[in-house]
């Protein structure tokens, strides 16, 4: 009896883990892309691009991720757009966290000293060269700790997809509770699994930080 329950819980969590990990990874990739596209767009030379970027950042940062995912899943079909639950989840999480990331990208780039730009100017670097070889290698490591935080936030926010019929860990734990009436066990396991995922992200971000540490470059 107890063995059956443990096996049932193990299967449920394993099924849920697949969805949670897939959402975290794909959502983070989308968030990363959005962060760079709109973070750079926010300080672009062209006015229209700046306006579009500010619009995206403020709308997605200023409204609840919960409501955004609900919008994508329940409201968009009224406009004839039927996204799959999985795609709604990735879009909702990725676009929301991407908006925070865009501000991280912008601030990290703007934190690069004026002297750096002046030296580039003195060396007759193009805008691309300045950005690619001088600004970005200094700004990127500055972004990483905050990106790591955002990724952890995204991972934890994946539990809201249980409300749009995706069977993530939280949803599976909930179904297990309804099936068996057990509450302590599924919630304890769920907490543990989220914490292990957090450790995984921490390890990943630390590895990337080591790899991208600015080295003195011989020119």
């Amino acid at each position: 009896m107890t063995e059956n329950i443990v096996l049932d819980l193990f299967c449920s969590v394993l099924h849920g883990l697949e969805i949670t990990v897939a959402l975290t990874v794909l959502g983070s990739v989308l968030a990363f892309i959005c962060a760079f596209v709109f973070g750079l767009g926010r300080i672009a030379r062209w006015r229209l691009i700046r306006i579009i970027s500010v619009f995206y950042i403020e709308v997605f940062r200023g409204t609840s991720v919960f409501v955004q995912v609900f919008w994508l899943y329940y409201a968009l079909p009224a406009f004839g757009i039927l996204l799959s639950p999985f795609l709604s989840g990735i879009l909702g999480l990725g676009l929301n966290v991407g908006a925070y990331g865009a501000e991280v990208v912008r601030s990290a780039i703007q934190a690069t000293g004026k002297d750096q730009y002046e030296s580039c100017c003195a060396l007759n670097f193009t805008r691309y060269q300045t950005f690619r070889y001088i600004v970005l290698p200094q700004a990127f490591p500055r972004m990483l700790p905050v990106f790591g935080n955002n990724m952890v936030e995204l991972m934890k926010a994946t539990s809201i997809v249980s409300l749009i019929s995706l069977s993530d860990i939280t949803f599976q734990a909930q179904q297990f509770r309804i099936r068996t009436g057990q509450t302590f066990l599924p919630f304890a396991v769920t907490l543990l699994v989220y914490f292990l995922l957090y450790l995984g992200i921490l390890f990943f971000v630390q590895s990337v930080t080591r790899l991208t540490k600015p080295k003195s470059v011989k020119v």
């Binding site: 009224a78 004839g80 009436g181």
Partner: protein, 295 residues
């Protein structure tokens, strides 16, 4: 205009863009609802080969196992009806109980089969089939409780009682109608949560359909619980809910459901799950909807 700060101008631009987007979205929505579907919904389902059924895990009405397989009396009956309508497969779309009707209206499912009671309010939002599963409302409480309420009117009189009701369920309306103030009603998301609240004293009474209550009593067999069937509440019947745009599909479903009721298939499925097949025969959709049906 020169005095307008850069920041203000940005906020202005964002607001204008947002409003433009909203207006465009509303127009798109209106265009969508007026569009006509050329092929009948039943023909579409037959061509596709499967029907998407909105479900929430509500044992014993709907049971979902560890591998996500769908069972329980509601889905089994619905599957049998759709099979005879020429739609062989059934696909479950899981959500919370409160998310069932929004999911149906957002075209996430073709029909709901999850013990959704037919009520006037719901009749305005969705097109119900004829009643298929009926049940009494019940009150669940600890056996050593101080008071012993038998009805919603008893609950209204005892001001010390906090009453748990399923979130989005029919019990809330029944209790309010009997004079229970809203601040003594606690919405509960699922059975186990309700049981824990009952055992820890956050609520003193948990009101829910009798068969769901019996299921919880069986799960918590080591606890001494009292299950009372509410005296002043009528029998409630669930039906399959269809989109208000799918009344023709609903009518086709009703036709086959009547056939199953006549040939004994209906009785066999209900009896196998401990439901009473005679109850639904005494009631009609018309009576539960009280003239609030969508047309």
């Amino acid at each position: 205009m020169g005095s307008m700060s850069n920041r203000l101008r940005k906020i202005y631009a964002v607001t204008v863009l947002f409003m433009a987007f909203s207006v465009g979205a509303v127009h798109a929505a209106q265009a969508q609802t007026t569009a006509q579907v050329p092929l009948s919904r039943l023909a579409q389902l037959q061509q596709r080969g499967y029907v998407r059924i909105g479900l929430s895990n509500e044992p014993p009405w709907t049971v979902i196992d560890a591998d996500g397989r769908v069972g329980g009396v509601g889905p089994e009956l619905t599957h049998a009806v759709f099979q005879r309508m020429g739609v062989p497969e059934m696909q479950g779309v899981l959500s919370t109980f409160g998310g069932l009707i929004p999911g149906l209206l957002a075209d996430r499912s073709d029909a709901i089969s999850s013990g959704l009671f037919i009520q006037p309010g719901r009749c305005q939002a969705v097109a119900f089939s004829e009643p298929d599963l009926c049940d009494r409302e019940a009150l669940l409480m600890l056996a050593n409780g101080h008071s012993n309420p038998r009805s919603y009117h008893d609950l209204a009189k005892d001001h010390a009682l906090q009453i748990g009701v399923p979130a989005g369920g029919s019990e809330e309306h029944a209790a309010l109608a009997a004079g229970v103030p809203a601040n003594r009603l606690v919405p509960i998301s699922d059975g186990p949560s309700g049981m824990i609240m009952l055992l820890s004293g956050r609520i003193q009474v948990y009101s829910l359909p009798a068969s769901s209550a019996q299921h919880l009593v069986d799960l918590w067999h080591e606890q001494k619980l009292t299950l009372v069937k509410v005296e002043d509440a009528p029998v409630m019947c669930a039906g399959i809910a269809f989109s208000p745009r799918a009344v023709a599909l609903r009518d086709a479903y009703d036709h086959v459901l009547a056939q199953l009721k006549a040939d004994g298939t209906y009785d066999r499925i209900l009896l196998a799950h401990g439901f009473d097949p005679t109850l639904a025969r005494e009631h009609t959709r018309k009576e539960f909807c009280a003239g609030k049906e969508v047309q």
